[in-house]
Every structure is written in C-alpha cells, then in structure tokens.
C-alpha cells in the first residue's frame, strides 16, 4: 500500500484514541478536583492534568493560570491546542478523508458523524455543566470507531497499521494517566495512604474503566503498587502497558510476515519493551521510581513511533 495511506491510517487511529484518552484524563482531573473541594483541600489538580496530557507548555504560553474552566476549554475545544479533543477529531477526520478509499464505510461513518456533531456548534451541549456528558460522548464515539474498524476491516497491512496506531497511543496514555498521580501534590496533613490519596488511586482506576477489574483481580482494598501493577504489568488488563505492548509486537510481526520478512529497528525496540514488561516486577519498578519508569516508557514509545515511520511510512 502507499506509504502515505499507511501513515494516515496510523495517525487516524492515534488521534481517535487520543481524543478518548484526553477525555479520560480530564475525567480523572475532574474527579480529583471535586474530591479535593469536598475535603476542602483545593490543590493543583488541573495543573497536573495539563502535565499529564503533555499540554502544559502550550497552555502556559497562552494562559497565566491553570483554573478549571480555562484548562478544560483548552483540553476540550481549543483549536490552538493540537491535542485538544476537538483538534484530535478534526485531525482524525482529515486523515480519514485523505485515505477514504482505505476505510470501510462503517469506519468512515463513525468518524464523519463524530466530526459533524462536534461541528454543529451547539454551544449549550458543550458547556461546562455538560462536561461529563461530553466526555462520555467522546468515549462512546471512540469506542464505536474501534469497534467499527475491528469488525469490518480486512485483516491486511492497512489493519495492522491502524492497530499499531491505536495501541501505541493507548499505551502512552495509560502511562500518562498513572503519572498524573505523581504530579498531584498531597497537602501536608494528608499523608500517603490517607483518604485523599485513596480517592486519587480510585479516580485513576475509574478513568480507565478498571475499578471493577481491580477488585476482581486482587480482591483487596486499593493499594498503590497493585494499581500500578494492574495498569503496567497485568496481561489480562486490556489497557495495561503489557497488553498494549503485546499487540504492538504482534502487529509488527504480522507486517514483517506480509512484507517478506522485512524487519527494522522498530521491531527490536518493541520486542525489548515487551520483554521488560513481560518479566518486570512491580517492586523493582517502585524501587527505582514509578515516575522515572513511566517517563522512560513514554520516551521509548515516541522512539518506537519514529522508527515505524522510518521503516514504513516515508
């Protein structure tokens, strides 16, 4: 297939996933902020949310203070922010339009209708009082898109590239959501293991739809290292770094097979990352620092994306 087509499919999937992920991160921020308010402990939740999405630099060149309203607007609809939900939907559709011929009708419908609704300028529907409805809607649309392509695309290289886009973005996002916790400061009198800390971890699990899964897997009250283990190392957790990494390795292998055995640096990086996660232990990760581990993972994801581009997309 055309390199440009593969590139568009890859990015189209990444941007749809990112729209959903940003929505999930805002949900965490929202929940943490409301809990802090109810415990009369207003903190820096929105600032942390910005850092977690990687949008903090862009935000502070435009705004001086990270108040709830401004941050939410910047993350949801600001066209100047390339990672705002609306920008993601816009970019996804632009990529889709460029490769219309490579999409199934169901994929196109899912994308196009999402874009049309985001554009019908019904300001009231997207107002702050409807924030959670809007975020749910974005999640639904992204899930619809994932379902549409998983169920209708031919299992060929086009599908593999789309799949790669989804999982690289998703892994990146899970790492970032976990990292929110690092950036949210606990007030002095609220120690680790206190009520607020507990709610933070709960918010993180909820945002990746994993609160029930946690209880199912561990049958224990929330413990930070177990939450981290679930989201990093557990193979049965579909958004965990290990699960995503498995998918990435699998689809890179399928590509290599389809293309007569051609492999590159991206295959090596993906394999190495996967091995680390497959055989890693949570106590080791905590020992050397969860934040450092996540930062390193995010960097490696970026590198992996670059190497995939080099081998296939240029």
């Amino acid at each position: 297939m055309l390199s440009r087509t593969a590139d568009s499919l890859f990015w189209l999937a990444r941007y749809m996933e990112r729209a959903e992920d940003i929505a999930r991160i805002i949900m965490v921020g929202h929940r943490m902020a409301s809990m802090a308010r109810s415990l009369e402990n207003p903190g820096n939740e929105w600032h942390s949310t910005l850092i977690a999405t990687g949008c903090d630099k862009g935000f502070f060149t435009k705004h001086a203070e990270a108040s709830a309203e401004v941050v939410i607007d910047y993350l949801v609809r600001d066209p100047d922010n390339p990672s705002s939900i609306f920008s993601c939907l816009e970019t996804a559709r632009r990529n889709a339009r460029a490769v219309r011929t490579a999409l199934t009708v169901d994929m196109w419908d899912a994308l196009n209708e999402t874009w049309l609704r985001a554009h019908d300028n019904d300001a009231a529907r997207f107002g702050p009082e409807h924030l959670l409805d809007l975020l749910e809607w974005v999640k639904e649309r992204s899930l619809l898109f994932s379902g549409a392509y998983a169920n209708t695309m031919l299992r060929n290289d086009a599908y593999y590239f789309t799949r790669l886009g989804t999982f690289i973005e998703r892994a990146d996002n899970t790492a970032r959501i976990l990292d929110v916790k690092y950036h949210v400061l606990l007030p002095h009198h609220e120690g680790i293991g206190g009520a607020l800390d507990y709610y933070h971890w709960q918010a993180i699990l909820r945002s990746v739809s994993a609160l029930r899964s946690y209880h199912w897997v561990y049958q224990e009250r929330l413990k930070p290292w177990l939450v981290a283990e679930l989201l990093i190392l557990r193979p049965e957790m579909p958004r965990s770094l290990l699960s995503c990494s498995e998918q990435i390795v699998q689809h890179l292998d399928l590509l290599a097979e389809a293309y007569g055995g051609l492999r590159g640096e991206c295959h090596r990086i993906a394999g190495e990352t996967h091995a680390r996660l497959r055989y890693g232990r949570i106590q080791d990760i905590f020992q050397s620092g969860l934040h450092e581990f996540l930062t390193d993972f995010i960097d490696r994801s970026m590198l992996l994306g670059d190497e995939i581009s080099k081998l296939y997309l240029n």
């Binding site: 339009r97 490769v99 011929t101 293309y259 007569g260 051609l262």
Partner: protein, 482 residues
Amino acid sequence: MPAGELSGGAKAARPSFDEMGSAGDCRAQYGLIHRWLADTPAELLSLKRREAELLFRRIGITFAVYAEGGNPERLIPFDIIPRVLDAKEWSLLARGLAQRVRALNAFIRDVYHERQILRAGQIPFELVLHNESFRPEMQDFEPPQGIYTHVAGIDIVRLGPSEFYVLEDNCRTPSGVSYMLENREAMMRLFPDLFARHRIAPVSHYPEELLDTLKSVAPENCDGDPVVVLLTPGPYNSAYYEHSFLADEMGVELVEGADLFLDDNIVYMRTTEGPRRVDVIYRRIDDDFLDPLTFRADSALGTAGLFNAYRAGNVTLANGIGAGIADDKSIYRYVPAMVRFYLGEEPILKNVPTYCCGIREDLSYVLDHLAELVVKETRGSGGYGMLIGPHATREQLAAFAEKIRAEPPNYIAQPTLALSTCPTFVESGIAPRHVDLRPFVLAGKEIRIVPGGLTRVALRQGSLVVNSSQGGGTKDTWVLEG
C-alpha cells in the same frame, strides 16, 4: 458566421421546451413520472428530499465552493425528480458524442503533428499556435493509440424535441461523474417502486469502463497487467470526493504528487513495501501543475520529471498533456469543421453559433447586441465571469462592454438559448427549471459511453446558469431501454 435561427436573444425567444410536456400533453417517456408526481403528496416528496439530503451528507459528497465563506463542504442540491430520455433520443446523442470525441482527438493529434487542418485553411494558425492551451512541448510526440482526451465531458443543451446542441467540450479533467453515479444510487434507495416500473439503462459500471479504457492505453513497453493510479491534488481540491470515489470503485491507488517519484524516467509510487512501478496515471491535476520541471516551477502538487517519463513512453497520462487546445472557447466554433475534415461526416450534434470578439465583425455585432447575448471569457469556467445579457442591468451591460473593448480576444458571445426545462421540486412545489446534460465519453482503444450523464439544473426560477458554483443542482438522468 451566420447566427441563424438561434439568434434574436431573449426578446424573440420562444418558450422553453419542457421535457415532460405541457399539462394534458405528457410526453411518453414521462408517463409514469407524471402520474407519480400527481399521486404523491407534497409532504411525502419533502420527506424524501430530506432523506436524500441526509443520505448525501452521510456519504460525504461535498463540493467546496471557492468564492464562498462558511462551510467549505456545502452539498450540491439534489433534485428528486429524474430526467428521462428515451432510447431513440439517447442513441442519437450517443452517436453524436462518439463522433465528436473522435474528431476532437484527431484534431489534437493533428495540431501536434502535421497541422493539416491549419494548412487546409480551416482554422487560423495563430488561433492554435498562439493559444495558451497549446503545448509546444507536445509536438511530434505520439501517445498510445493516438488518444489525448480519454475522458471527455461534453455539455449538451436541448432546445426542442430533437434539437441537441453542444454548449462546451471539456477535454482536460472534466468532473461530475461521481454525482451521476451517486444520484442513481440515491434514487434507487429512495424510490425502489418507481424504479421497478421502468426499464432504466444502468450506469454503475462506469468505473469498470474507465479502468478498461485506461488499461487500453498503457505504454507499449508495459508487460503484464498495467498498474493504474489516480493522481489527485489532495483533499482540499473541490473534486476530491470524486477522486477518492473513482479510485475506490476502480480498485486503484489514489496518489498525490509526493507519492510518486522518478528513477531513470520511470515512475514509481512509494509503498510500505518499497517502490512500485506505475504504468497509467489518470490525473486530475491540470497540465500547469503536473511537473514543476516542465511547467509551473512553483507547483507543489505534481511530480518532478513526470513529463519526461511521459515523453519517453514509460507512462501514460490520461488525459494527455495539451488536450486543452481542443476545448478552448475560441476553438469551439471549429469543431463541426473538424468532424467534416477528419471523419468526412456531417456533425450529428450542432454547435451553438458563437461570436469571437477577437474578430472585428463579430466584435461589433456583439457590442451592438449585448443585451441579447451570453458573453463568456475564453479562459473562464464554472460559470464565473460571464454576462447574461437579458438578465443584466444597463450599468452591468455598459461595464461589461468596457471589459470586452479592453481585451476583445478574451471574449466569445452566444445567443441566449431557451434551454429546455424539466419538472423540479423546489420550495414552491413542482415547477419547470432549466437543465443541461454532461455525458462522459471514454476514449481508448474504442469509445465507450455510459447511458445518461450528469443533468444539472438551475434551481432559481428563470435562471440559465446550472453550474454548481452558482447555485445549480443535479438530477438523476434516466435513459429508458427501448
């Protein structure tokens, strides 16, 4: 040139021919449609129209309108009442179209080779050789099968039961065929019963015919099944939807200039598996932007070196470069002469009498009769920059006369034609509106024409301008099987 029976303009214009016929005197091919319109309540028609709009919006048919702000993906209005031609009418048209396109291709080949028609004094040398659409780079180059315009859109207007006139030939990159196909698709979904009661010639095989045509002009040195691609300027082009639609239907890659590259005068596309050779390019980019090395250096749309590969016979471009010389507005009036000269036949389709303001007698006639004429820029297209005399104010006429005097060769004029009308569903109900027809003629080893074409309709009452950029709509065009 004698203006003949068509002259006289608006004042003397007879009432337009209505293709359904007058009340109580319905033409045979419209019998069922007439009854259907009478039996269907207006609310139901409105409902169907809304359904149609929804359908089109979902399919994503859009058309960017250059001069308009706002939503760049405005829909072209679709009228739910079909236009019907019977088998006899179509066979006359089809013969006329094939004849005309054969002559146009022969003409293009001739002007880039022996120039016999110029030598014979049928067309002035300077009109061709000094024409902006003439491409000296193409001289003495022989494209496969001697074909230059592989896809021609011939715009037809109708003035009476058997009076079909060609208004304009489009030999470069005519668009609109996707609307022909989608309109049919929409009609079949919206009105399956009405469909079942007619025997309508299918159109959905157009992409296959197009692909066969393109393969039939593959370079001689191509062995095996030719690799065909469709070259588009990209998603921001107004016809992008059509490009992606056709590529999809043909099952060929939709490429942009940057997807192609040249190596040793051979064209390759960049794929995830490495370079792949390309044999035929159905290009929807204008000559000027095709190759920055040969044509406009500032073009970011094309591919450097493409022209040399074409001339080396390593790739076929469809349509060929330089085909525009045949559809130039100042050349138009010589097309009947081409038919006689190259084919030794009488033209089946008539030309509209045309005055070239570059010719002294014509200029003075045009200036004297401006209020009756339609004046077009020779380089204009899409209905931009034209004057419709009978609809213009005194000030507009005076201003336009100034423009013509300033640069006469830039303008041609034609009598205001009483275009035929078809019943159309507009705000006020069902009313006659003016229509034209763009059939698409495919020329490769043989000539193929899918029955029908794109009917464009001027939705405003009395308007004669059917271009979508000027508020025109489209209709499904039915050719009944005999």
